[in-house]
Symmetry: C2
Subunit: 338 residues, 2 copies
């Protein structure tokens, strides 16, 4: 049973808390979110099945006993700089912190100094910090590396995540630009509201594991347009409008493309799947039939990493530096006991 300090009570945070209880993995002992909408409310107001009458605090000030927690879960922002004050507060108390902050999956890409600071802080106080998620955090990086455990050589790696957005939540469909025309799509890309965050982090994670120095990398994003009129939960989508997004990242080493990551999500996308292709010995062609449903998976992997993170040495971690992450059985399950 993990005693959790949860920071960030938005939809993803609520989903994780719901799963924490449903899976019998632990309980929320304290909750923090500075959004005005949550003040005066409790965790059980937001997640009734938790039955946790824990007040949602605006800051960490009211927490007096930091030994009351086994881990903190932080689901606030994709942006590491925005999360940093929270991480500093937690690491200064020697906490074990798992976060869905996408940039934290490979923090050296965009925040090298901050990464060094957080690592030093964690080591000083005996805490641990890890960024994870389904993507970045797993499908396009950790999992691809795990597949190469049996590799004698790796010349290049390509990962594809092709999703049918029809089955996903409305916020996801909005995020991939459903219904937009070219100008609207371009405006949202520019505003940063449409982009999938994390391809760069996954790319650099892979490069580091495979020993490649990234000489150059680039990211592209474009709409996938419907060739017929569609109905969607967001309303009708006319022929020629966006029904989704295609985003790609490519990385060069020694003058050639060694990493290709491609993310597609669109309404009615045929043959959704995740796939890892490695040119090397042996060649690898690994397919998740039907693909991995992201809403379940992100919450799951956050909870599944708590125990492996706690088993690692203090410091700033990645999914490559902690013991094997797999499904974590709940407490009602009787372990085989080794």
């Amino acid at each position: 049973m993990f005693r959790i300090l949860h920071v960030g009570l938005g939809p993803l945070g609520q989903k994780i808390i719901s799963d924490l209880y449903a899976r019998d993995l632990g309980e929320v002992v304290a909750a923090v979110d500075n959004a005005g909408e949550f003040q005066g409310r409790t965790v059980s107001d937001l997640v009734p099945q938790s039955g946790a009458p824990v007040p949602i605090q605006r800051t960490f000030e009211s927490i007096s006993d930091w030994s009351a927690f086994d881990a903190a879960i932080v689901t606030t922002s994709s942006d590491l700089a925005r999360c940093a004050p929270t991480f500093r507060e937690l690491l200064a108390r020697g906490m074990n912190v798992v976060s869905t902050c996408e940039e934290l999956c490979w923090p050296w890409l965009r925040h090298e100094k901050l990464a060094q600071e957080l690592d030093a802080l964690a080591k000083k106080h005996g805490g641990r910090l890890l960024g994870t998620g389904v993507n970045p955090g797993f499908l396009m990086d950790t999992f691809a590396v795990a597949a190469t455990a049996i590799s004698r050589s790796v010349r290049s790696v390509e990962v594809r995540r092709f999703q049918d957005a029809s089955t996903r939540r409305i916020p996801f469909q909005k995020k991939i630009g459903v219904g937009l025309d070219d100008a609207q799509f371009a405006a949202q890309v520019k505003a940063g509201t449409l982009r999938h965050v994390g391809l760069g982090e996954s790319l650099h994670f892979l490069a580091q594991q495979f020993g490649w120095r990234v000489e150059r990398w680039e990211e592209s994003i474009e709409p996938i347009k419907t060739d017929r009129d569609l109905d969607s939960v967001l309303g009708p989508v006319k022929q020629g409008k966006a029904c989704g997004v295609r985003q790609q990242a490519r990385g060069w080493s020694e003058g050639r493309i060694v990493i290709t990551l491609e993310f597609r999500a669109a309404l009615g996308l045929a043959d959704p799947h995740d796939r890892v292709i490695v040119q090397g010995e042996p060649p690898i062609d690994l397919v998740w039939k039907g693909g991995v449903q992201g809403d379940i998976a992100t919450s799951a992997i956050v909870l599944n990493t708590i125990a492996p993170l706690r088993a690692a040495a203090p410091g700033l971690h990645t999914m490559a530096t902690i013991p094997l992450v797999g499904f974590a059985p709940g407490c009602k399950t009787v372990g085989a006991g080794v």
Copy 2:
């Protein structure tokens, strides 16, 4: 560059040494094998491309400086009891030991006391011990667990390894019973020369990770018979004779089958592949198209685990307790440097 003490100079040991040099991962500093055929010979006699004029010793007695090694690789036997004297010698010197001993992949199944002893010995002297391989060690256990990092629940798991033996080495074809009639097949099963070792170890590894108490488990083995006359590198195989083997293990928990492992290897087997199927949320159906070639993979994973094992705390390890194992780049490769 790893400085390696290699123990066991048979075909697999030679392959690993060959790859160690080809991949520029390190060098063999000392070699031990008590087989008479190797006495008076050097590593480079067996593996010319190593260029290592290292004499093959019969025992560890001639080794005076144990700090000369970063790790030991042991490729002697599938049987943990037979390997134990070697492991004791190495762990008493605080060595990091990776072995292809199949029973070591989950030693608590058949050798619980020995496992405790080796763990204590490793911890006392600051050494580490790990059993690995492509199977057991990866495809039917570690990899299946890794896939469930994104699982909210796991109700059952099934792993299939279906191989076309036509492309494999002669010893492999002999080992799977090619050309045998029923009586010969049964005799070889009884003698223990035909059985794939490790399904039980993989099964218990999975059960432990998923929190299942194994109430009962069983293993079955039967010939796959050819429905027509075949040619093989072992000579003609008449219709009705064995062209391979089908071996299955099943494990029960709370009255139902929760783990099914199936190993098939036969000449001309159609659609070879490896596959992991998980009943749970989300459902997982993960396919290695064409399957994983075992000869390359076993050598590769042994070399790929050295660095993660060295990064773990002292003790007896499994593939679940060390950091992520992926392709290990050689020293000529320039790392991204974090």
